[in-house]
């Protein structure tokens, strides 16, 4: 049993959207539906300016708020800690969207189903890396088993003292270097 997680190094991210598009292709999403959202934070005054780009997708929370509110149990957590949506159960009530602290969910208006990052469960089950990680042009993303102290991701999190976006909001599985 693994507990999959990711580290995103925002100091390396160049906001290229490659992860977004590769994710859409991998998951065959309509063009309007995207699992990764980009937040930009500009600080300072010209010419002493800093710009931070923070890609945010489902953080695969433990005791996920979206899962507990989901009335149909369409949202569930796999044994490997991946939070998934069973598209055949979802009624599209959007309660999970309201409950998600990271606004990581999005509705596919073609099917009505509310979707989100799947940690590329099918690729990962095949022993591969998620599409967004594979394609990240600046190697800003690392994926792996958080329970394995020797995994690249575990080591990197410790090395960079990466933190969840909001540790106070519960345990999530994407760690950020900022």
């Amino acid at each position: 049993m693994a507990r999959y997680g990711m580290m995103i190094d925002t100091r390396k991210c160049v906001g290229c959207y490659a992860c977004r598009v590769s994710c859409q292709m991998q998951n065959e999403l309509p063009v309007e539906v995207s699992f990764i959202k980009f937040h930009e934070k500009e600080t300072g005054v010209f010419p002493n300016v800093k710009n931070e780009i923070i890609p945010v997708q489902c953080q695969h929370c433990e005791d996920a708020p979206c899962e507990s509110v989901c009335p149909t149990k369409a949202t569930y957590t796999t044994e490997d800690g991946i939070v998934l949506v069973d598209a055949e159960k979802c009624i599209g009530c959007k309660y999970c969207m309201v409950a998600c602290p990271y606004q990581a969910r999005t509705q596919d208006h073609l099917t009505g189903v509310v979707e989100k990052c799947r940690f590329c469960a099918e690729l990962v089950a095949d022993g591969k890396q998620p599409a967004c990680v594979t394609t990240c042009i600046s190697n800003a993303r690392i994926f792996g088993d958080l329970d394995d102290p020797n995994s690249e991701v575990s080591k990197a999190i410790i090395k960079h003292n990466a933190q969840p976006l909001r540790p106070d909001l519960g345990k999530s599985k994407i760690y950020y270097v900022r």
Binding site: C70, P71, T72, A87, C90, I91, G92, P101, Q103, L165
Partner: protein, 298 residues
């Protein structure tokens, strides 16, 4: 905002339906002669709930496309929505049974009526808890919200029942004085709760403060002050108070009651007040959904 007008209407109708049911139960005990109001409340209650549920179904796009999936709504007992689904189902069955008895002019089973009362209260509370448990939106995430929703449900329920009844029996709606008193106190409580809630949440964190300021002075301030406060609360409070003051005087002279009950311009007043309570009830829910600012996670 994720949930928009449709969900606001659903929350409003569910509360209104529960409130109307409770109003009719109250009237049937306190004023056995006020038949119009009893019947009206009992008939509109399941109808409004039904419309509300239809709206919910329309908003749930995936369910709308695959209706069988709604069965799953009953499966997650951790979800307020699942619990609410049970509440509404039971309430709906009781309310529909009682409405049917009313139509068939038969006597309704008392136990079913009690079940209806209990689940009407539960339904009204559920509409508040549904959004009240969402920790992500500080504006909602308060203990006051479910109380506010119950109070508003009762007040809109009374307003809805009186409004519809007044089309059938102008006299009767003026004779249910204690209903009117209750209504007035509900409106005053509602105003009090709204501002207490704002006071508490706006100091609690940034997102809530942002929500509150968008209501008080920002994007939604016009709708808040004119729609909710002036039209939805102050107007009915003033008219209702004046009416009660009048009726207090009138109680002393027998003729007075007659005059009041027959006065047609007063019916116009009733129409206006009760409509504005309903409008206010919808605006309250619409504003709470629209002004919801989730916590900042960055």
């Amino acid at each position: 905002m994720v949930w928009g007008t449709i969900i606001a209407a659903y929350l409003f109708l569910a509360g209104l339906s529960a409130g109307a049911f409770l109003t009719s139960s109250f009237v049937s005990r306190k004023y056995p002669n006020a038949v119009t109001m009893r019947v009206t409340g009992r008939l509109i209650s399941p109808v409004l709930m039904g419309i509300g549920l239809l709206l919910l179904i329309v908003d749930a796009e995936a369910g709308l496309k695959n209706p069988l999936r709604f069965i799953y709504l009953f499966t997650n007992f951790n979800s307020v929505m699942t619990i609410g689904t049970y509440f509404i189902s039971i309430f709906m069955m009781a309310a529909a049974y009682i409405a049917l008895m009313e139509l068939l002019k038969k006597k309704a089973n008392k136990i079913v009526e009690y079940v209806g009362i209990v689940f009407a209260v539960a339904t009204a509370m559920y509409t508040g808890f549904l959004i009240g448990v969402i920790a992500t939106v500080p504006l909602w995430n308060t203990a006051i919200l479910p109380i506010l929703f119950v109070v508003s449900a009762l007040s809109t329920g009374i307003a809805g029942t009186i409004l519809v009844s007044s089309f059938f029996n102008k006299h009767e709606v003026h004779q249910v004085l204690s209903v009117k008193k209750i209504h007035l106190s509900l409106l005053a409580t509602e105003a009090f709760l709204i501002f207490t809630m704002f006071l508490i949440t706006s100091t609690s964190n940034e997102a809530a403060a942002e929500s509150v300021s968008s209501l008080l002075s920002g994007e939604f301030s016009l709708l808040f002050w004119i729609g909710l406060i002036a039209v939805g609360l102050l107007l009915p409070i003033i008219v209702e108070s004046l009416e009660l003051l009048n009726s207090r005087k009138m109680e002393h002279s027998e003729a007075g009651i007659q005059v009041s009950a027959a006065g047609t311009h007063d019916i116009a007043g009733t129409l206006v007040t009760e409509s504005s309570v309903l409008v206010g009830g919808f605006i309250l829910r619409f504003l709470l959904l629209s002004a919801a600012v989730p916590i900042a996670f960055l």
